[in-house]
Assembly symmetry: C2
Homo-oligomer: 375 residues x 2
């Protein structure tokens, strides 16, 4: 009897380590653009996910500082939530209009006490402290709940604190949407080119500034181009996050921390925005066969990792030079492949929602046996 | 006692379904450019693989129609094999120079009777029948051995036969290197953008023809550019596989069969090579703001999948227009992301060896619990 038990214990252990989830019950922390984009494509793809991956998912809780907090262990009417917030600007509209067992729970209570087994953290970005997302993610990991986030703050400032928490609690922490939205650079670097050693990366990681530079090439002044970016919703009323390059500094910090084995805070990135660039600079560069781009750059140099974001002249023959408007791109230099470039959208409601969806599918792929996905 | 056994059977089943492999024992079928490139980076990265992924791998058998066939269950001296074939052109040199327990086994015997648990199939490509790779892969899957291949033939002509074999025998069939070498388009399409629905793909999937078109833009005639491609080793003595577009037709067939849910044989691809393109055509297109590229194209149209490879004018503003020389690229159009483009090498000894390495790592990632790779 002892022998039998002994033999059987190991397999059991393995199974506990990576328990399959029959249904993903999601607590959605934040119901802004990304949260709603994800909800929309989750509704649209629910049957397809079930048929294709055997993946069942529903939202059981939505917790938003403005729209309110609702929780139904049996699952929420997700379409109704989308409709309510699109029809009205009314504060706490979710709490007013839903007939659900629990309302008004704060974020930490929602993460801890709901029956959610996966937390989607899509609140606002703070590149200094990572809060409030950092607290949300830490709480979820400690509770043994998987986390998917598109929030740059926590990953940029505290990845090295979050990673061991996830391992210790045997849950996944996925963050594809933190860099270039659903254009899958994180999964590209971590999985698709695994085996390569990354020596250097150069990227256009901020769409707003790339849009402004594109407009300046077409003859617009910096000020007019910025106003146009604000009018189109690309830039905020206070545009410094983009044009002073805080946003791409956060993203390059994420790449350093998660795929290059380094440790850097966004504020330590050598950073220069595009305020000093004129229409004349942009047009002069073109005549010389270059384009001025705001390049996020990281390289290994004598055992050290150096990260910067600065306007640079890129030869027109390079793929990055031809990335225009709000499109983003990343070129990675590796030992086995030389340069590989990924070009795609860097922001957007559905595009970033897609990042959440693909992370959810990845978690499911790891938790189930992966063979059928490959054969 | 019955109850206990009953409870414990399920976990055991799961473990058997995806049994962890302590050490990958590789049978290398083919010791040409790719086989040697993979061997070189396996040797170079062995310690790193062990430290980073806990992945142990060694080659136990090499079976090559020219260099000979050797097998040592304890593992071969891999560096010696590289040195031997590089120093001499002598047939069966491996069998002559190695002191190993088994020599001269044919391919099927090697796959069946060695202690290998993973077969790397890197013999020559036949886009009509898939042989001999097809027989090698079928044999391996039936024996319950994982397969990694860079051989376009079997995947292009028989994927729909191989896929159920892999599922039935609960082993992985990986083929990243069949399209764009180590530039990870297969893993990109299958995993990194999972959740997206692919509507259309356009790619430059043949380096030789892209090189010739680049040279023609610089003023070379077609004939001179072709001779230069042959001198540099890009094109074969009989160049029809490239310039008549058989090679990219095979690759687009692979994409149709593996990621678009279609079923097509390379010979059914609507195919037109670059023999009819002149230097004048190329230069005239540039003046009109286009570049002529040999574009592999697949799109969904009214429930049908249409695949073609043809020279096409691509606007200079499109990422594909700026892909020059032997570089390859693929643009995929999806519902959630719009256009996403991947640019990178499409061939090469180390680049294709990298595809084998990354497939090996992917298998290992699926067979072990994936959490530590993500957290």
């Amino acid at each position: 009897m002892f022998v039998i038990l002994n033999v059987l214990l190991k397999p059991l252990e393995v199974v506990i380590m990576s328990a399959k989830i029959d249904e993903y019950k999601i607590a959605l922390m934040g119901f802004g653009t990304v949260g709603r984009g994800f909800t929309e494509i989750l509704i649209k793809n629910r049957e397809w996910l079930r048929e294709t991956y055997g993946l069942k998912a529903k939202i059981v809780a939505i917790c938003d500082i403005y729209w309110g907090s609702i929780y139904d262990p049996a699952g929420l009417n997700e379409a109704k939530a989308l409709e309510l917030v699109e029809k009205t600007k009314e504060e706490k509209i979710l709490e007013k209009e839903y007939d659900v067992p629990h309302k008004g729970w704060n974020a930490v209570k929602t993460i801890k006490e709901t029956n959610a087994n996966l937390v989607v953290e899509v609140t606002w970005t703070n590149l200094k402290t990572g809060e409030p997302g950092l607290t949300h993610i830490k709480t979820a990991l400690k509770e043994g709940k998987h986390v998917v986030t598109t929030n740059k703050g926590p990953i940029a400032v505290a990845y090295h604190e979050l990673k061991p928490l996830a391992v210790e609690n045997q849950v996944f922490l996925m963050y594809e949407g933190t860099v270039m939205s659903g254009t899958p650079v994180i999964r590209f670097l971590r999985e698709a080119i695994s085996g390569c050693h990354i020596e250097e990366m150069r990227g256009i990681l901020n769409g707003t500034t790339n849009f402004i530079l594109t407009k300046m090439e077409e003859g617009w002044t910096f000020d007019d181009a910025l106003k146009e970016a604000q009018r189109l919703g690309y830039a905020e009323a206070d545009p410094s996050g983009d044009i002073d390059a805080w946003d791409p500094a956060g993203k390059i910090a994420i790449l350093v921390n998660t795929v290059m084995g380094g440790k850097i805070h966004p504020k330590e990135v050598d950073r220069e925005g595009i305020r000093g660039i004129t229409r004349e600079d942009v047009q002069k560069a073109i005549k010389e066969g270059n384009r001025i781009k705001l390049i996020a750059h990281v390289r290994k140099e004598g055992g050290e990792i150096k990260a910067s974001v600065k306007p640079q002249k890129v030869p027109l023959s390079h793929p990055l030079a031809n990335v225009m408007d709000v499109t983003n791109a990343l070129t990675v230099s590796t030992d086995h492949l030389g340069e590989v470039t990924v070009i795609g959208p860097g922001a957007g409601r559905i595009q970033t929602g897609q990042a959440v969806l693909t992370d959810l599918i990845a978690i499911h792929r790891y938790l189930t046996k992966g063979i059928k996905f490959y054969a």
